[in-house]
Symmetry: C2
Subunit: 470 residues, 2 copies
């Protein structure tokens, strides 16, 4: 007893010390040192206890040279699940280094949904090579899955699930699972949380949670404890909608049906968590004009992928400059205008970005809808004008005191009110209109909004100055 | 049979038609129309079939006036779970309208983790009033939970869980759950995915997934099928680390222990999904300088919460203006500089924001670590200088052709290379340094980075112009 307690105390205190759970930098350093020293036995023994997610992290964190050395050392011992967890860029590098034929075995070891995730990124020729090497049963499912659009429920689901006919009892269901586990453990999914009740046409009629199965006595029929309000997901559903459904309904799994309504797979929460992460990353990156795999891409690829967005930004910056050039004569006479004009544009751009971020997030979480969009736009107009007035007073006083010119202060104050109000309007209405036009509001909003605030900011400030001060 | 098939076809086609799952705008309009017409029976019958998450959405989307009218109509029929799903701002409005005493009952109906979530936002006096009204058993747990820091595992966990001693068999465990369900269904959690094996001191020694329990024969001992590598979470763990652990290990539930290592609760994936969403939202909003509950706040509150960030932005804009004012004499002689200078600053700002977003996201997902940060900074320096050279050529040509002045083109080209390289450096090193200093890299990075690119952009461009062109 004391021994167990001591062991427990150790576990607990270990856990308390390292509460952040990620792979330790010291561990990584130790592994790199062992690689440098050529002590491959030590490398293998350091990597052996690592969870496959940590192995994936380790491979991602290392430099390319260290990564390939580590691959040489680990060789066939590399967990196929680690391969599935890897970032696309790093995985491609490994496929190229090892050659596709050497990792086909790893792919066939994966769960069906992870295998699809792996294969869908390969080019067609490589896809065929991997599929040929797979057992026929797995192959059929994967070929089927690849027919569904990318980012659809059909790609996300796994084939492995437990379904039972309507007339079965709790006892019969439990016996069936015990028998399956003895006869062919592979036929059961690795982890599952619901079993599905299907009619003779294999259409789902209800779901039974494992917890309700466990607390119900054997003679009760599954149809008596099944949950019929379950959410049946058609294979072609977009993964973003699947994620929304899981979040909204606190689901842990849901059945997927084909066009004929027949049960063909199940989606579980762990896949959905990855989708939520991906969709979020996409929103955040699109807002800043960055590609998704940016972090591990080579410098040249990164530079190339960011080039397009920077070009768009250059065009809008030139547009803003063109507006300024309309007032060259005015600036020549009052050079203070050149000093102050970036303040008006910058405050408008910032206020616009604040509003835009709230709107894009609201649209992504479906909190901003047709019902309340008009109300939100009105609110943001009001927020923009309130802060516009406040910063008009502040910036006006700064300009007045700095250049000892009350009229100049008045001009910047007026321009500030106008630009920050327009920022509130543009920051909400542009993403809402893009969403209605079927364009992802995250992608283009930010250019449009800052273009509006730059152009309006410079035009109003310099225009008022030309009109009032000259 | 035909009837069931027809029913199934209907379900399937309904599902296929509305694949987006969110509450339908038409439904909302119908409910608002019924409210306007005073047909309260219709309102109630329209709301009755809605899931509690949809009721929460409905309340959030309506205007304040409609919301309070709907509350009057629904009255005590309002699902307490809907109350738990509400945005804080909207919930506060409802508490104020109904009075706290009228919703105490609703709170006592909630799962313990949702009740904590509800109570933690109240002020101390209101907390006491709600706690007094609760059954003693629930109260103890909630008082206990509230002692843990906000956003800790202790706040996130629920008390309801199933734990069994080490000597039990699968059969005994199943019998125990069936008996509990008959005797006191409240004692079992509504949904659970693992049961925990505990030693006599109530310390967890392993976890058994329900699926493994179901496929194992009755005489087998739980210790033979338990999973001992489970992740034990100390109550004080930050919820962000809990979310990381769940994601990294694809967990659906995990046991929570107190300082003595005793099992005190369990965290399930549905709570973690909410945390993941919250943390995402926080990162995105912080980057733009917006508060979290922004969407449903009143205009004045929103304006106030954004004021601070805008003030910081004003200070940095004035700093940039001060740099420009150093070169007033230069601008007076060559007014084209005033026209072109925003291009240099804007390109630097954009390149810096791209880099910054990748770095902040990488830090949040722990993909950017001490191991690879030096490598990433080097990479971003390279990316910045590659794009810097490309845009130097483009912007240089634009300026040359526009103002028919080759030297001016050279000046803007040089300034562009310098500023975009600095942007790459600042965009990665600033968030990395903030993270090391223990400051959330999302919050302050964006000001620092654009301040650097504005100041450097204006200074280098105008400085080079003064040196070369005059």
């Amino acid at each position: 007893m004391d021994q167990i307690d001591a062991f427990q105390d150790k576990i607990t205190s270990d856990q308390t010390e390292s509460q952040t759970y990620e792979l330790d930098t010291d561990q990584v350093d130790e592994i790199v040192d062992a690689l440098d020293a050529g002590d491959f036995a030590l490398v293998r023994s350091l990597c052996a206890p690592l969870h496959y997610s940590d192995v994936a992290d380790l491979l991602e964190w290392l430099s390319t040279a260290d990564r390939l050395r580590l691959l040489d050392v680990l060789g066939k011992d590399l967990d196929s699940d680690a391969l599935a967890e890897l970032d696309d860029t790093v995985r491609d590098e490994i496929i190229e280094y090892w050659g596709l034929d050497n990792i086909v075995q790893a792919v066939t070891d994966l769960d069906s949904d992870d295998a699809v995730d792996f294969i869908e990124d390969l080019d067609e020729e490589d896809q065929q090579r991997v599929l040929q090497a797979m057992p026929a049963e797995d192959r059929t499912f994967i070929v089927e899955s690849l027919k569904y659009p990318e980012d659809s429920a059909g790609r996300l689901m796994q084939r492995e699930l437990v379904s039972v006919p309507e007339f079965w009892t709790v006892g019969k269901t439990i016996d069936f699972m015990r028998q399956s586990a003895d006869d062919d453990p592979e036929s059961l999914p690795e982890a599952f949380y619901d079993i599905y009740v299907v009619d003779p046409a294999h259409k789902p009629v209800g779901a039974v949670t494992l917890s309700s199965l466990l607390r119900t006595r054997r003679p009760i029929k599954v149809t008596d404890i099944m949950w019929t309000e379950m959410h049946i997901i058609p294979v072609s559903t977009d993964q973003e909608d699947v994620a929304y459904l899981f979040r909204q309904r606190d689901l842990v799994s849901a059945p997927v049906v084909d066009d004929g309504g027949r049960l063909v797979g199940a989606i579980t929460i762990d896949d959905v968590v990855d989708v939520i992460d991906d969709e979020h990353e996409e929103d955040m990156m699109l807002l800043a004009g960055v590609g998704e795999d940016d972090l591990y891409d080579a410098a040249l690829d990164t530079a190339k992928s960011r080039f397009i967005w920077l070009t768009v930004n250059l065009l809008t910056a030139v547009l803003a400059s063109a507006v300024i050039s309309l007032f060259e004569a005015t600036i020549e006479q009052i050079v203070a205008l050149a000093v102050l004009m970036p303040i008006v544009a910058s405050m408008g751009g910032n206020a616009g970005t604040q509003t835009l971020t709230v709107a894009v997030r609201g649209l992504a979480t479906k909190e901003l809808t047709a019902t309340n969009s008009a109300r939100l736009i009105t609110k943001e107009l009001l927020v923009g004008s309130i802060n516009g007035v406040l910063f008009a007073v502040i910036a006006g006083c700064v300009a007045w005191l700095w250049f000892d010119d009350l009229a100049l202060g008045l001009v910047i104050a007026l321009a500030m009110v106008v630009n920050m109000t327009i920022a509130g309007l543009a920051g909400t209405s542009i993403p809402v209109l893009l969403e209605r036009a079927g364009i992802d509001p995250a992608i283009a909003s930010s250019v449009f909004v800052t273009t509006v605030t730059d152009v309006v900011g410079f035009f109003v400030f310099l225009g008022l100055a030309a009109w009032i001060l000259l």
